[in-house]
């Protein structure tokens, strides 16, 4: 049975920003332990308006405009979590989370382990991330590799409107800390999704096959998903039928979905916009190679941002993986006919 489509009941499509807002609101309504804190999250509703309306509905004690200090925001969240609360903190932009890395790496990620499970920290750290929005310096970083290299953290990133709801819901419900990376350039992407319909809650750590295909697998996540889907459509004309896997969660990592796909197609390209060297793609390519070696027709390739500081707005298009760059890479997967 399929749900009625948006048009059939005259609904307006929703944006990822709205889905995230709604997930926060539902979590706060369901559990009084959920508190939101960050810079400008209260009266203003956040610079991306994700927390819009929450302060009005739940009050300033639960939706708090903090002083401007990211280490303080995350550090106090640790104490709040130790006392039984479930903080959801907002970092205003990717690069402005860096002052909080001391708290994140030295405490948030390892408190459970250090205390033999006595002090879990159910903290969600929401980080608007990535480029493609014409942001000036420090407003377009993709920092997932730093988080991924820190055991004890979950790292999650939605690429669709429905996932934004389902994954944020599960992130807040998780008893472990979750770095929740929100692709800025997808905030205003729209889909047939309604806050009024029953929502799908997504367990963390399950990848999704967004497009089935038989020639090769594109493995991606977050902001690069639409680019991969575009590339897959263009590839049809070249005679390639590409499968697209959206990881959704980088940690936990869904080896099974990824490897099932690659074993079937025999070829894989990992796509992400953060720098390639030491990036998430390196880990993914290694895992796929280790697990699927005998099924592979070609080495696992990567399409990533260059190994440079994120470019200024007028040059960012040269840095970001494009459909063309993906197709160029697919072409190098040792096809017999060519």
């Amino acid at each position: 049975m399929t749900a009625p489509s948006a048009t059939s009941i005259g609904r307006k499509p929703s944006t990822m920003a709205q889905a995230l807002s709604r997930a926060l609101r539902d979590a706060m309504a369901a559990d009084p332990a959920v508190h939101v804190l960050g810079e400008d999250v209260g009266t203003l509703g956040g610079v991306f308006r994700i927390t819009d309306g929450l302060a009005k509905e739940f009050g300033a004690d639960r939706v708090t405009d903090t002083p401007l200090a990211e280490a303080g925001i995350l550090g106090t969240a640790v104490g709040m979590a130790m006392y039984g609360l479930r903080p959801v903190v907002e970092m205003q932009f990717d690069a402005f989370a860096y002052p909080s890395l001391e708290q994140l790496i030295s405490h948030v990620a390892r408190m459970r382990n250090r205390t033999r499970g006595a002090l879990p920290l159910p903290i969600t750290i929401r980080v608007p991330y990535g480029g493609g929005i014409g942001g000036v310096e420090h407003h377009s970083d993709s920092s997932e590799a730093y988080y991924l290299h820190t055991p004890g953290l979950h790292v999650v990133t939605p690429a669709t409107v429905a996932d934004a709801y389902g994954l944020l819901h599960s992130a807040i419900a998780s008893d472990d800390p979750v770095v929740f990376l929100e692709p800025k350039r997808l905030y205003w992407s729209k889909a047939d999704w309604s806050a009024d319909a029953p929502q799908e809650v997504l367990p963390l750590g399950r990848a999704a096959v967004r497009r089935t295909g038989s020639s090769a697998t594109l493995i991606t996540y977050g902001p690069s998903l639409p680019v991969c889907l575009e590339a897959a459509e263009l590839a049809v004309a070249e005679g390639w039928d590409l499968e697209v896997v959206d990881l959704r969660s980088l940690m936990p990592f869904d080896d099974e979905t990824v490897c099932t796909s690659v074993r079937r197609t025999g070829r894989a390209v990992v796509v992400h916009e953060s720098s390639g060297f030491g990036g998430a793609g390196a880990e993914i390519a290694a895992r796929v190679t280790e697990r699927c070696f005998h099924h592979l027709e070609a080495p696992v390739l990567r399409v990533a941002g260059f190994d440079i500081p994120y470019p200024p707005p007028m040059l960012e298009r040269h840095h970001l993986p494009s459909a063309d760059r993906i197709l160029d890479t697919v072409a190098r997967l040792q096809w017999e006919e060519n």
Partner: protein, 386 residues
């Protein structure tokens, strides 16, 4: 009169612990109780007319700059602009108080200070236009890049000042920060280092009432930002940030102290951000228009103009001259900004390291091939050969 017994001042058993001795006397470090002002006070009459005229011309130019830059965002020529209208006096008087060998460490809103220091108006906008991250050579005017991660430039200023002192130079660093930025850990660390090292550095907090939407009362519970100085063992000064000669005087005194080995100073300039946080912000979501109007009535340019007119140091003709000069600057800036910058994407690989790594060389070759293919109109290069 009741006299409170001070511990350690009598034979009372409450004698100090071993080796304890009073350290810095906090009283001389305390800031004034109300922001220091010159304009409209009797002391104004001793102000140097040439200085006042210069400040006036620069403030008028600064305001015009803000207006021009904001207009350029509307025309899509600038990605974003954080206007400092209302804060011209803090930024410009502070920059003009510096000696040529001094260094300025600006925050992202401080374009006017950067321009007042001598940087080309166009070059000060490179970051916000988006063609590169910084548009000027910091060595030429001794201006560090406009700094976006808040308060992170403050330790840099301390380190530079410290290095200059070790070398025996009489260089002072002036570091600018907003009220919000004082909450960051780097603010604390910078002030502590500066005081412990007695570094020749001056910190200027422009307290403009807001950090985006967050008002003062949610930012700090201190009696003033200037009071924070006392805890670090440096003097604090509180000044009316819309009174240009007052800012100038307080800066000159702090710079002189720093230069002569007297250590750092923390200055709070009380001012107001008249415009929204940036052109992309909607300030009506978090503040009352009446508050804005109260500050408009305490306008830095109007205050200065009144003084100049009262003392007949300027007439209508002088004002027209200042405005014409500002207009000429704006027209030139507009023309320059309406010309698309010539960008070479290959520059992305140029400055990452002193010597390009083999990996970057490969990536540069890839982009170069893509650009060639783009010119030839092929959707993706080289795929056929491989």
């Amino acid at each position: 009169m009741a006299v409170l017994e001070q511990p350690g001042t009598t034979d009372h058993p409450n004698t100090p612990p071993p080796d304890w001795h009073p350290r810095t006397d906090p009283d001389p470090l305390l800031p004034e109780r109300a922001p220091y002002r010159v304009l409209g006070t009797p002391t104004a009459s001793r102000l140097d007319p040439a200085l006042l005229r210069r400040l006036y011309a620069e403030l008028v130019r600064g305001r015009r700059y803000n207006r021009q830059a904001t207009a350029l965002t509307q025309q899509g020529r600038l990605a974003v602009y954080p206007s400092s209208t209302g804060q011209e006096a803090c930024q410009i008087a502070a920059a003009l108080a510096l000696d040529p060998q001094d260094w300025l460490f600006p925050s992202y809103r401080d374009t006017l200070a950067v321009v007042a220091r001598g940087v080309e108006p166009l070059e000060a906008l490179t970051l916000l236009r988006g063609d590169w991250h910084n548009g000027y050579d910091p060595h030429i005017h001794r201006v560090a890049p406009l700094c976006t991660p808040l308060a992170t430039q403050l330790p840099h200023a301390v380190g530079l000042a410290h290095a200059a002192r070790l070398k025996g130079d009489d260089t002072v660093a002036l570091a600018l920060v907003g009220d919000g930025g004082t909450s960051e850990g780097d603010f604390h660390e910078a002030l502590n280092f500066a005081a412990v090292w007695q570094a020749p550095v001056v910190f200027l907090v422009q307290n403009n009432g807001f950090a985006i939407s967050v008002p003062l009362e949610k930012q700090s519970a201190a009696p003033s930002f200037a009071h924070k100085a006392v805890g670090y063992g440096m003097p604090g000064r509180l000044v009316d940030g819309n009174d240009a000669p007052a800012v100038y005087e307080v800066l000159i005194e702090a710079l002189r102290r720093a230069r002569s080995g007297g250590g750092p100073t923390l200055i709070e300039a009380v001012t107001y951000r008249i415009d929204a946080h940036t052109n992309a912000d909607d300030a009506t979501r978090y503040r009352e228009q009446a508050e804005v109007e109260r500050w408009r009535a305490h306008d830095p340019i109007a205050l200065l103009e009144r003084e100049l007119r009262d003392r007949t140091l300027i007439d209508d003709e002088g004002i027209r001259e200042a405005e014409a000069a500002a207009e000429a600057m704006a027209a030139k800036l507009r023309d320059e900004m309406n010309t698309d910058p010539v960008l070479d994407p290959m520059e992305l690989f140029e400055h990452v390291y002193a010597e390009r790594t083999t990996q970057l060389a490969e990536q540069a070759a890839q982009l170069s091939a893509e650009l060639d293919a783009e010119e030839e109109g092929s959707p993706y290069p080289e795929s056929q050969e491989r």
